[in-house]
């Protein structure tokens, strides 16, 4: 008999917990199945250099691979963070996604260039291969070229301190 009155209260409590957890989830963040897998191979033209950039060039030390574009608002948000990391010696590879070289270079001239290497993916083919669905996205690669983390959206101080930095220190080096 007592259960009969308790049941609705328990149900409500259960639902409240469910909703509280659900509200914390961001449905726009789709977990990448590429984490823990070798990064997909690519071969891109560099910007401001005749050379090509290939996956093999990224091996041997942990690096950040940042997909960005001059037309992307979130990229401006995370830009000061990238500049700071570059000053601290973190190697960031920039991939200019669905952009023209001129617009990309213009944007970097205006805001500063945090990228040690810069390549262009004008059609977004490499982006598609890497599972990019909205710039900015930042991949953390270990020395073997395995994707160990992916940040969707602007790189935040919290994401760097709590998730990326421990990985950068833990791998290679």
């Amino acid at each position: 008999m007592r259960l009969r009155y308790l049941l609705p209260v328990l149900l409500l409590a259960g639902l409240a917990v469910l909703f509280a957890v659900g509200l914390r989830n961001d449905p726009r963040e789709v977990p990448s199945p590429l984490i823990g897998k070798p990064a997909p191979a690519f071969d891109l033209a560099r910007i401001g250099s005749e050379q090509r950039l290939r996956l093999a060039d990224l091996k041997g030390r942990p690096v950040l691979v940042n997909f960005w574009a001059s037309w992307c608002a979130g990229c401006q948000v995370e830009h000061p963070m990238l500049m700071r990391l570059a000053r601290e010696g973190v190697e960031i590879i920039g991939i200019d996604y669905k952009d023209t070289d001129a617009d990309g270079l213009n944007w970097l001239a205006r805001h500063g260039n945090p990228f040690r290497t810069l390549a262009a993916d004008p059609l977004g083919q490499v982006g598609l291969d890497w599972g990019v669905y909205g710039v900015p996205e930042t991949f953390v690669l270990d020395a073997e070229g395995t994707i160990v983390f992916k940040q969707i959206g602007p790189l935040t101080e919290t994401a760097w301190r709590e998730q990326i930095q421990p990985l950068m220190r833990g791998v290679g080096r």
Binding site: R28, V30, S32, P33, L34, L128, W130, G131, Y133, G134
Partner: protein, 156 residues
């Protein structure tokens, strides 16, 4: 009359939207055989756009959806099977790109949950109806009732 015109308007909108998709896909499907074209339609309608999330890549106008349609098209021309194309996309974007996720450890609740809920609801409903059923004629024995009433009356 009001209802009729509203319905007509709705139908008009739907037809308009459908025609637009057909137009766009015809441009992309020009090099496909009839069989490939049918598979193309099937695939783009069951793959989800990751930017808009609640549209298939056939319905979405997002640039990423166009890229994904392009990718499906290219792989069809290259002779890949539907399963291979789906795998190419789930390897990169996860099961999220599939509108019909596969049945596995992490999705069994999604697939079976509604049926389980239906069973629970049925069980509750049956229990409820049983309990409410009026008592049968045998529950009250009229002779015994009369006797009890008589006894009551005889008391001082």
């Amino acid at each position: 009359m009001m209802r009729f015109s509203a319905l007509a308007l709705l139908v008009l909108f739907c037809v308009g939207a459908g025609a637009q998709t057909v137009m766009r896909d015809r441009l992309e499907s020009e090099t496909l055989t009839a069989e490939q074209q049918q598979r193309y339609q099937q695939l783009v309608n069951e793959l989800r756009c990751l930017v808009c999330q609640n549209q298939s890549i056939a319905d979405s106008d997002a640039p990423l959806a166009a890229d994904l349609r392009d990718q499906v098209h290219r792989q069809l021309v290259a002779g890949r099977s539907n399963a291979e194309i789906r795998r190419y996309l789930t390897d990169r974007y996860g099961d999220f790109v599939l509108y019909r996720p596969p049945f596995k450890a992490s999705t069994w609740l999604l697939w079976l949950g509604p049926f389980a809920l239906l069973l629970v609801a049925l069980a509750v409903a049956v229990g409820f109806v049983r309990k409410r059923k009026p008592a049968g004629p045998s529950a009250v024995d009229p002779a015994r009732l009369q006797r009890l009433l008589d006894e009551e009356r005889e008391r001082p």
